[in-house]
Symmetry: C2
Subunit: 350 residues, 2 copies
Amino acid sequence: MTTVEESLFLRACKRLFVERTPIWMMRQAGRYLPEYRAIREKYDFQTMYRTPELATEITLQPVRRLEVDAAILFSDILVVPEAMGLAVEFVEGKGPIFRKTVQTAEQINDLNVPDMEESLGYVLEAIRMIKAELNSAIPLIGFSGAPWTLFCYMVEGRGSKDFATARRFLFEQPGLAESLLEKITAAVTAYLSAQIAAGADAVQIFDSWAGVLAPHHYRRYSLKYIRKVIEGLRRDGQPVIVFCRGAHHSLAALVECGADVLGIDWTVDFAAAKRQVQGRVALQGNLDPAILLAGPEVIREETLAILRAAGRDPGHIFNLGHGILPTTRPDHARYLVDLVHEESQKIRAS
Amino acid sequence: MTTVEESLFLRACKRLFVERTPIWMMRQAGRYLPEYRAIREKYDFQTMYRTPELATEITLQPVRRLEVDAAILFSDILVVPEAMGLAVEFVEGKGPIFRKTVQTAEQINDLNVPDMEESLGYVLEAIRMIKAELNSAIPLIGFSGAPWTLFCYMVEGRGSKDFATARRFLFEQPGLAESLLEKITAAVTAYLSAQIAAGADAVQIFDSWAGVLAPHHYRRYSLKYIRKVIEGLRRDGQPVIVFCRGAHHSLAALVECGADVLGIDWTVDFAAAKRQVQGRVALQGNLDPAILLAGPEVIREETLAILRAAGRDPGHIFNLGHGILPTTRPDHARYLVDLVHEESQKIRAS
């Protein structure tokens, strides 16, 4: 029997030999699955991630149906701002809305650096339950939003296409913005450390809003704090994946941030990214999620192109370049998993 | 007296010597101006762009207040889909909504390649009126959406953060998608040619949704048609500016598309872009529009960084990296114009 340390996913994270390329999909525990929607009909979104039994069931659903090589915790990045003291509501069709936002020194002072068991114990309990249920060869990925991405929501108060209010705050009051980023960084570091202590085999940091910053601002206001989180993590070999959507300009700098794996979005050419990172980190990605909306022929062609660009080198984890779309047919997702397994094995054996 | 051909803007487009760097701002004729909002209180958005007198007044407003080096026609990229037969409504707070969308061969056949004077005569009339009113040394920029960006709206039927329906159509039915792109390309080519014939001194092609495509899809489904538009244009030396938001991966390919000027968004490092294009086209950009929300000190620091990266070479047109934000203070925009003029003159004289 394989142990989790010998799993394809953890070996690929560490750039060790694998006979085939592991695959999982961002948002794989989500709305495209009828078994997820069945739960969603009975419970609101917050109840789903706050109830360890439900989070466990939802986390395991795609592992059962798709046979992906890793599970990812079902949760939301906004649990951290919540635990820091900002109540959030999820409004159907509108996304998350915060009742109050953060913009002054006083409001920053008022934020908690949360006690993990007290305010995020339900996440840690879900991790323990998932690990008890999960096939011992399938690793569990924990996650958090990156400090910059959480800052965006906490200052803006809701989703936005450009987070102009958050950027304004950054440029108008850089000192205050940095003190808020520091506080979020402390919370994220404690949160990911607690996830690892609870049993997460790897963690992913999602910087969903990296792409709204110019390259020099990105390095100053986002990358710097990602590096701090990774430096501060209490871990024992568990890999860290960093996925910064839209940070195409800073791949070379990201190689230095301490991550074991860089996730790349679908607007980055895989071969170009591979040349840039020069085998110093593993790469995760990067099929356009909309490709799964088309038929098997297109899925096959586009997937093979990425597998061929990755070649036989260790250190590739197949993934989508962003979350799986809610309109995806589950059989297309399953087709992708099988295709990646079969074709990567051929390429690696050749 | 300076003629339009001798203007800073047109000289910079052609990479001819200029004593200072010209500047204009995307969406400079817009909501951040109180004089614009005063008109908007009396008329709906469609009446504003369909009425040549109003479009003229709005186009001239930022030229008067900011003393920018070029005027850009006040209009909307969706006038082309409208002229092709797709009625569009602008719903406050929701953006454009099409009553019907395009997804079948029959619907593509039903689209008009519009007669310009008949269906877009109001735009051409506005151009003639603006040219008659405009100081003869200030050039007028006409514009159109790029075929791919118009395709996005025509298939999706509304704005979207990822245009997943448009991408699905592309991947599921590439042949049909290409026939739609061809038809849009013919309309855009005729439209920009008519704008030039009516008096536009330059034209800009906006590919606002370049960034939702992977690099290889971008070249196949967007760049190819931009090149076709430029090849097909009837023009007599009027420069073409191509602004593809999010096409960071294809700058080298864009250099070959026939554009005189490439607009770059604020997520591209100016110095890196300059190295990539190697003086073969002029560059336009690329201050983060949110910088204008901060104070003069920050505006100054960030602007100087771009001017220094551009250096003394001809072929830089200062602009924002995206449209000016509605919350921008007009005096900040004016400060930027004066700053670019003064500081670029010093740098160019040094």
